[in-house]
């Protein structure tokens, strides 16, 4: 595969980062590249979080537990649609927003 083919086989997603996670990214918004392995295997939310963790090690475990479930106070919006299923495809969405709900004293 050529370098240009490799670039074409990735989807770039903008991820909005809540303040509790900005110690990892240093920014409130980052772009991550999700490899597209095959047309019949579209990128998923889980793929976005894996790519995010590659770029910012440790961030995924703060929002996803060891059983691959989203932690209770975390919400994900994909193209404005709320989801808790990491296997959901991105479809045409190019933005994922991570929300850390506010609670407690």
């Amino acid at each position: 595969m050529t370098a240009s083919a490799s670039r074409e086989a990735a989807t770039v997603v903008r991820v909005r980062i809540p303040s509790p996670l900005r110690s990892y990214t240093g920014a409130n918004e980052v772009a991550v590249a999700i490899p597209v392995l095959a047309p019949e295997l579209p990128p998923t939310i889980g793929g976005v979080l894996a790519a995010l963790d590659s770029a910012y090690p440790g961030i995924r475990f703060r929002i996803v537990d060891e059983q691959r479930k989203l932690r209770p106070h975390i919400k994900l919006f994909v193209g404005g649609r709320l989801t808790r299923n990491l296997a959901d495809p991105l479809d045409s969405a190019s933005e994922v927003m991570i929300v850390a709900a506010l609670s407690g004293g």
Partner: protein, 380 residues
Amino acid sequence: MAPTRAAAQSAPARRIRVLVATRKGLWMLNSDAARNGWKIAGPQFLGHVVHHAVCDPRDRKSLLVAARTGHLGPTVFRSTDSGRTWKEATRPPAFAEGSGRVVDHTFWLTPGHASEPGVWYAGTSPQGLFRSADGGATWDGVAGFNANPQRKAWCGGDQDGTPDGPKMHSILIDPRDPAHMYIGMSSGGVFETGDAGANWRPLNKGVRADFLPEPTPEYGHDPHCVCYAESLPDRLYQQNHCGIFRLDRPSETWQDIGAAMPKSVGYVGFPIVVHPRDPDSIWVLPMDGTSVWPRTSPAGRPALYRSRDGGQTWKRQDRGLPRAQAWWTVKRQAMTADRREPIGLYFGTTSGEVWASRDEGRTFRCLARHLPLIQALEVA
């Protein structure tokens, strides 16, 4: 294992650092050589719930911090320069994928044996045991406990247990043998391994569990804090939900030493500290465990109780502490001692105060006020 005494010497008159782990971050208290002048530094990890912060006695500059926030998953931070810089564990304690279990928080940290530099153990909520061999960078579950088919019978379900979640705590490594360890679990009881965690057996004979239908079961107890005497590692003490107990190995039966406490104060509390050089000298800090368990100092008058004879008799120590209307209490890992002569005692309260004595509890003074709820105190 035959009872043997271990060498336990007083520390030279160096400055003391106390790590103050709170519900909102980490602070450090630094003394002068006389332990008279103290300065506070911090916060670090502001906004994190810090359940435990521990300095490695093997190099006296490595620190581990068990932390989480209200929204984010649990992690461990580590420093190799006495807390100036920190790195996050690349693989924090986590149960095996497919086990169905989720670590809510790492509750307890214990440095490994002196012969195993870089080894640490962690106890979690719900009850899980983890080991790191690289100074806390990566953690693996101790399968002999976490995957033990008896674990659920020992501990109950992950939703059972204390209001803040069931916990593994009091991970004790025998200073004479790194493969010989004890753990305490609330609930579950005290367990022992002789093969570095491959196999475990309950060690609760003689301890009451009067909140269960069978008050003297083999396991299922609620030890709040377990410790051994550094100078006599075969002497164990525990402050339990149902009393204060002592065990002299190789005996397997704990002796009730809480019965000698004053009836008006009772035998309920969380922390227990043993003198580093005198195995008969211990301190507890009782709380109100009556009726609905207010978890305050009894009658609003906090005090330590010291025994110099292994728990046969107790003496109240409250000089310098509030005389009335002080309704705080002290969590199980929030009371500790230094190794100076005479030893210093330190405890942190649920109302964010740090109190200290540099004369083994004869007098106390307040070192810090207005901190968040204090989870743990350790001498670095």
